[in-house]
Symmetry: D2
Subunit: 323 residues, 4 copies
């Protein structure tokens, strides 16, 4: 390695060469999504997973678990606002919430912005992930120290079954029901029937992330999760939003035995009254658009017949969220 | 290279190795999108561009011009239904249409599904691209031979300026106004004022593709195109849809001096009455959702002050559509 | 897709964008080697393997089997000159040769350049590969039609064992003994002892390709093949050469019970006398350099104790040649 | 991000997903070489260059300057042993050495292993690179603190021209003479004639790294550097070695007005007598092989007519060493 410039004052062009470090994810076998890297900030290994925090050029800091992007600094607000605010806003007065999973802390952070909230229980199985996120995800630091938050390390199903209390809202912030993955049991009809529903208070709302919801990808798990929930609850609302770092539309499903139906204006009113600070992504009109699915997707959901049971899970290749 | 298996009956696993041929696109400097390839079907070079037709695993046949994906077999219907049907449906009785660009033929194909149409003029500058698409894009073959279609090889601006007749709908199916690209002159206020508007009949509608419209990418050109059009027309409607092969939300803007505002039901009625065959992507509710932009994007559009002029173009890195 | 240039005479730069189609090979889990593609010329599937002929920018036409590069137009001459000429030149008068594998035809092509040759038997198990190469590899067309060549479709071991005749030279042009691969049985001490040696005439020479022979990679199989052969033959000569398209040094081993030792001058003389046309890679001095291994590799070979047996095969990840 | 495993004792497989962080280098426009990454250890920017120290899986720690691999932990010993030991061993008693470039410190490290050495002057233009390497390259730490080493920050040409003293050996450890690069002036006939030669003592030897020397790549600069040196010196010895992390053979050229010709035995003797510790790559036989070039390369070198002058530089795409 040698001398690189004569003393003739030629300036050094930083753009004379291409990006050389990349994060690469196989969204499907045949499809890759690659981010230029600034650095690899931290890596760790838990009992269950390999964890990495990357500093990417297009999407900022990115949490990657077992080679799958979990969330990226610049757009995780879309995922977490969509997961948390619709069920809380549609509930008349949400006080206590149970999060299945959610170890990253962003779901708790959004919940704790609601002034109606008394208690949030976050139950994640992987203590190292929780500790890793607590240490490194600056945006969630305040939430992790909020006295209203209680973190429990346990299997969410076992925990829910062991508890007597009921919740205003239960949130499924779990990995997708992927092939060989450990989470599909938390997406089954019997789990919803026997574990989730009995732990909701009167008027309570359940919400779950529901995997990719794009024009092609919504048949992987989104339509089945929707169909499974409508076997169990009277009112079921699917909705979706584009998350750039996932390279896809993402889906969520809310479900309740009480009607879930507010006008754009009422949603906007409740946001103003209950939520500290301003949402970046979600307002009444955005939710109205997000819950009006496109023709193709609506049709698929209407026609879906598959129901998740422990015997008949349906898996995906591993978009975005993964075990 | 030698013998590969003993005669012991061991079977050959086709999945024992990874995909080895890939199409790779730099969506931005820091972001890549890669499709596994089945084959490279055809390549060609025109006076203006390099053209390739690839057979990709995730998105079927893909038309690539100068290293940029133009459209992919499996999802081009989203782009072309969104470009064509909203302006035609909002027009009371569209009979003649002028397409600026559109050499691929898909825009003409969608137009010709409308039973009100008498004449479609497609004006593209690159004869080789038109011939290439005519030869290889099977889905558009019928459209290219429809007697209502007239293909003209010329610069769209020169052509429009030289013609006396006026149109019910003018469609901009042009490359984005990218840095150094030749098309930005077809996105300026003066072009809209002096060339497009005078060539629209009373009640006529102009629509243009308007580049990426994602939560981050909409500030590249979408917001400026919108703002430029609202300097020129009384009624301007921006809308967007996710196109999986583009790895982003895409945007379009409709503009007119007559109101553009129909109910979901009226849109669905007109589709049934006027369009041959059934849309795959678009119906009334889908358009209602597509034209309700999310909070972030709405805000940006409201606050946008940039106007395209020949002196102050705004360029993008080259998402999807490119010169 | 639209108009791409105004009629202002701006010329079209073909270099304004990056290469977009690539062949990608994982040389090891952690190491990739990627060639820009012009086209995918042919693909096929045999009973045993997937076959593809690619047109690559850096190395011309490339034969790829099961996702592994077998040989590339621009540098296969190095591999095949090194495999064929050293044993034939060291033999006083080679008349008949048996090739185990070699379905590509290049080994036969090099053999048939020797004017001493009466008969070449090429025994490859995969008829489709042989037919594919016969059809598409123009450089070997003449060889495939040479009356001195006899092509047999069979397992090389079974074929050798079933034949009574003996050979001046036997050539192993087989896939590496990789993990789970079918060829390792053709690299064992017992195969050399019981099948190969008895089929060599007095003074006969055996040669085999012997996998990667780089400073790090030679311990994968090269040193073991060398050590196995020196258990069986009195004289064993390892040698190596860099093959650019393999991104590594490659190795071969010659073995005989008669001395294999000629001066640079005698090698050059025999080449002039016996070989039709001129070699591109190999001459006397090149062989002298090729058979003088570097310190690290010499040491490893001297100290190697592993012997291939059917019970104790040693596998490699799958450099270059593969089953 | 959620719970990833039920408490059923399922173990976590770390190999269930593919490598996701990669270093990627374009060896040529059409050829890429990619290493899986463990981490990005340090990055920095100097007045002249961007510097990075990466931890790669296949080649250990790698120094990358302006997107080009400079040297990798696992195989830099090949490059540096080949650059340093041949000239020092062929010199009867080398006491003082001048390194042009060499800021990495590895060239100095190898020099300082010779017990004849009194003084080493390393003259590199980029202080930040020198400081970066001093801090982070543990293998060179001792060398950087050796009292026999004097580090000078200056343009090597200006420095050499300003000094009165003469050297036993001068070493060119410079970037290749690439297109637009600043170093080509240090490869010209006039530089060798007017600056280098006058600064060599009687019997002195000049050596320079000479770029890629593969079967195809040797015509980029290796043959020209060789031919330029034989215009200036009576004895010129080109030699080469494969460096795995460069994915190519690399070349060096020694030149002197005294004969450069020792037997394998004498080289081995001098190594034992003069060099502290044992070489990993180079011994007498290795040098004999390294300096016996293959037929193709020998021919090109013999026939080369190009001479580097300030007016007629020949550039390469940027293999390995770069400005």
């Amino acid at each position: 390695m040698g001398e690189v410039a004569l003393s003739n004052g030629q300036s050094h062009s930083m753009n004379g060469y291409r990006k050389s470090c990349w994060y690469e994810e196989e969204i499907e076998d045949n499809l890759r999504w690659c981010f230029a890297l600034n650095s690899i900030l931290h890596t760790g290994t838990s009992q269950y997973q390999d964890i990495a925090l990357l500093d990417t050029k297009p999407f900022g800091k990115a949490l990657v678990i077992d080679g799958k992007l979990q969330s990226a600094e610049t757009d995780e607000f879309i995922y977490h606002e969509c997961l948390v605010h619709p069920p809380l806003l549609h509930h008349p007065n949400p006080k206590n919430v149970f999060i299945m999973g959610g170890g990253e802390g962003s779901t708790a952070r959004e919940l704790l912005r609601h002034n109606t909230i008394d208690t949030v229980i976050m139950c994640d199985i992987d203590e190292e992930v929780v500790d890793f996120c607590k240490s490194y995800l600056v945006a969630n630091r305040e939430a992790f120290h909020d006295p209203r938050l209680k973190v429990i390390i346990n299997d969410a199903r076992a925990e829910l079954e062991s508890r007597e209390e009921r919740y205003d809202v239960i949130i499924g912030d779990l990995a997708d029901p992927i092939d060989g993955g450990p989470c599909y049991k938390l997406y089954t009809k019997s789990f919803y029937d026997c574990t989730v529903k009995p732990r909701l208070k009167q008027g309570g709302i359940f919400v779950t992330q529901a995997g990719p919801a794009g024009i092609f990808s919504h048949t992987e798990v989104f339509s089945s999760i929707y169909n499974t929930l409508r076997q169990v609850f009277k009112y079921v609302v699917p909705y979706s939003a584009h998350i750039p770092s996932y390279a896809d539309i993402w889906g969520w499903v809310m479900a309740s035995d009480s009607p879930i139906d507010l006008s754009v204006e009422e949603l906007d009113n409740r946001m103003r009254q209950r939520i500290k600070g301003e949402n970046r992504y979600l307002d009444g009109r955005t939710f109205s658009s997000a819950s009006t699915l496109s023709k193709v997707v609506r049709k698929s959901l209407d026609n879906e017949t598959h129901v998740y049971t422990e015997e008949a899970a349906r898996f995906i290749h591993g978009h975005g969220k993964q075990a």
